[in-house]
Symmetry: C2
Subunit: 393 residues, 2 copies
């Protein structure tokens, strides 16, 4: 039974709301915060004082106001002093970054990912990148945690990777392994790359102010980050959004998951390469080569792209009917496929989607670029701070 918050929870929520605002929207005047948050001037003053005391924000005088009246103090996130570590575990590389409050990338490292490494072997590499970056951290800084974006199903409770086709991982405790490397003062949160990218696009990308969003992310497989009613849809264990394993062809082609006819067997990398009759090593370059060939008039590539686009629209239509989203975002390889076959996607969607569900749905590509996964991973860590700024500070 849910019970209302106590007074100190009000304070926590208001501190979080203020900090979230400057985190997402950047430096903001106190006057503007007053109107946006709907709180009193005096309350905003007290909140900023608390946050400034914890070293999370700083205040300064604005340069030029242009208007009459006393200029309002500007509240800035302490981007250089308050930061999170972000990791992205991808097919052939590992990426690490130190990201400041406000979303600025302060430092970054990248390395090739040796194939066949399990979680316990990967964690030291990630920890090593952290130690390197840690040397350049100015004194008096505050680390709020680390976030990891993984391609695969992630158990919410402890960051266990249940199944990751990209890395070949099965039940790999990357969350626990990394936590053991980093110690207790750096809380680790692990998330699916699609979830995390959806989170980032919702916070500071194309999907700002959209409370019902499907972010479709493709690499080797296809997954979705789903935001329903303004909140991330995780499902019971944290495995929600595995739309790539929605079966679209009964008893179709076998999928790595053990099932048959999964959506990703029709729109994934392998499907396109096979249909286009190519034997390139899989990867983004191979895909782009197909789209390029199609552009140049290669008939086989064209039909491959059209067919994959049709299947893309097929699955999106199903999802649109089920979720009635406001926006569908195509990320990763799905972005390329969507851009190459938008007509097929639209056509299939229009013929299969319920008119009511089609009314307000917008198809978009991500606003955040390559760094979406890293920024989203950092966002996971920042969530902890925003939930209780003074405790985590």
């Amino acid at each position: 039974m849910r019970v209302g918050p106590s007074q100190d929870e009000i304070r926590r929520q208001n501190l979080g709301a203020l900090l979230r605002h400057v985190h997402v929207h950047g430096a903001t005047s106190r006057a503007e915060l007053t109107t946006t948050l709907g709180l009193n001037r005096s309350t905003i003053g007290a909140l900023t004082a608390d946050l400034a005391g914890a070293g999370l924000v700083s205040e300064g005088t604005p340069k030029e106001t242009g208007r009459a009246g006393r200029p309002s103090l500007v509240v800035r996130p302490e981007s250089a002093r308050v930061y999170a570590y972000a990791y992205s575990i991808e097919v052939d590389r590992l990426r690490a970054a130190r990201i400041g409050l406000g979303g600025e990338v302060l430092d970054r490292r990248g390395m090739a990912r040796p194939r066949g490494l399990d979680a316990r072997e990967t964690a030291p590499l990630l920890a090593g990148a952290l130690k390197e970056m840690h040397q350049h951290v100015p004194p008096g800084s505050l680390c709020v945690g680390a976030g990891v974006a993984v391609c695969g199903t992630v158990r919410r409770a402890d960051g266990l990777v249940r199944l990751a086709p990209t890395t070949g991982w099965v039940d790999e405790p990357i969350g626990a392994a990394l936590a053991a490397e980093l110690g207790t003062d750096v809380p680790v949160t692990v998330g699916n790359v699609a979830d995390v990218a959806a989170f980032a696009e919702h916070a500071r990308g194309v999907a700002v102010n959209c409370d019902n969003v499907i972010y479709l992310y493709g690499d080797v497989g296809v997954g979705a980050g789903i935001i329903a009613g303004g909140r991330r849809l995780t499902g019971h264990g944290g495995y929600g959004g595995e739309v790539g394993h929605m079966v679209v062809v009964r008893d179709g082609a076998p999928c790595e998951c053990g099932s048959r006819g999964c959506w990703e067997t029709e729109i994934g990398e392998h499907a396109l390469l096979r249909a286009a009759g190519r034997s390139d090593t899989p990867g983004r370059d191979a895909l782009l080569a197909i789209f390029d060939a199609a552009d140049r008039g290669d008939a086989r590539a064209q039909t491959a792209v059209r067919q994959a686009g049709d299947w893309l629209g097929f699955g999106v239509a199903n999802l649109v009917n089920i979720f009635n989203p406001e926006m569908v975002i195509f990320g990763g390889t799905m972005r390329d496929l969507y851009l190459a076959a938008a007509a097929q996607v639209r056509s299939r969607l229009n013929s299969m989607g319920l008119p009511a569900c089609l009314e307000h749905v917008r198809l978009r590509t991500p606003k955040l670029g390559e760094d979406a996964a890293l920024i989203g991973a950092a966002e996971l860590a920042f969530e902890r701070l925003l939930a209780d700024p003074l405790d985590a500070g």
Copy 2:
């Protein structure tokens, strides 16, 4: 930007939490409320005093305690005095009820639904049932509103029925029409029957304490009420959960919605009747006749049931992979089909579902019986009261 609640919102939420508890769990001692809600004795006392003052609850001394110590006062919902009207618009009948706080059905009316009636013609019938029931309402009672359960997609904003295969309605303003009949003192809320039944099962049925639930409801078509993260998934316009129009056979049999190969063309009434080679008038009796024939060894009925069960498992597996629910509930005709073909459903689900998503999913039939739609509809109206007990009281 979300901001924390003010003090009076705390009060509202706590009043709502207390009222919700006695509404859902029935009469409860103040001592028990103290521990369940985590509030102080004095606070519980003040809250109950407020609610009793508004006539929403009453207090009494318990009959026997069996324990030492001063017996705790029991807080009862004013079931007879505080009520909502509930309607269910079904294929061949209209049902109306007056339902007391706590979920008790105080009065009910039913009538055949003449085919071909639109919303403006139906509303007076519903209003007539209300007027009849209103004559038996004891003086000093409080009506908190009316809820309507409809088979079809419902626009959340105003209760417009966009598409209802059951009644043949297209863009029928049943919410507005009924509101015009009932006047401003009876706020009307319209909901999809599956959504509403899911809501009821989540509040007081099998899905208590399950925060990720899919309630599959079948009549002529198939829809789902989805609860994700403890909240109803409505989608952007309110059309979420149209799983019956998830396409499972590309370019398959035409569906009434204009698309082809929709799930409900494989597991709906018509599909079973066709596959079993029957020409009965569609309806629950015809379905039960098929299941009965299959039980008695009719080979054609058996294969029809098995195949439909297989398709049922197919769709459920897709939904389980997408939502990672804790529970799937089979209601309406889906209950009958599930019970008749549980083996096929399970088998298909196990072969198609991701292991991680299968781990904790439970398949269940509803706990609330025929009245689920009515109780859920009333629950829609009660939500308004529970959100702000003293204002609506």
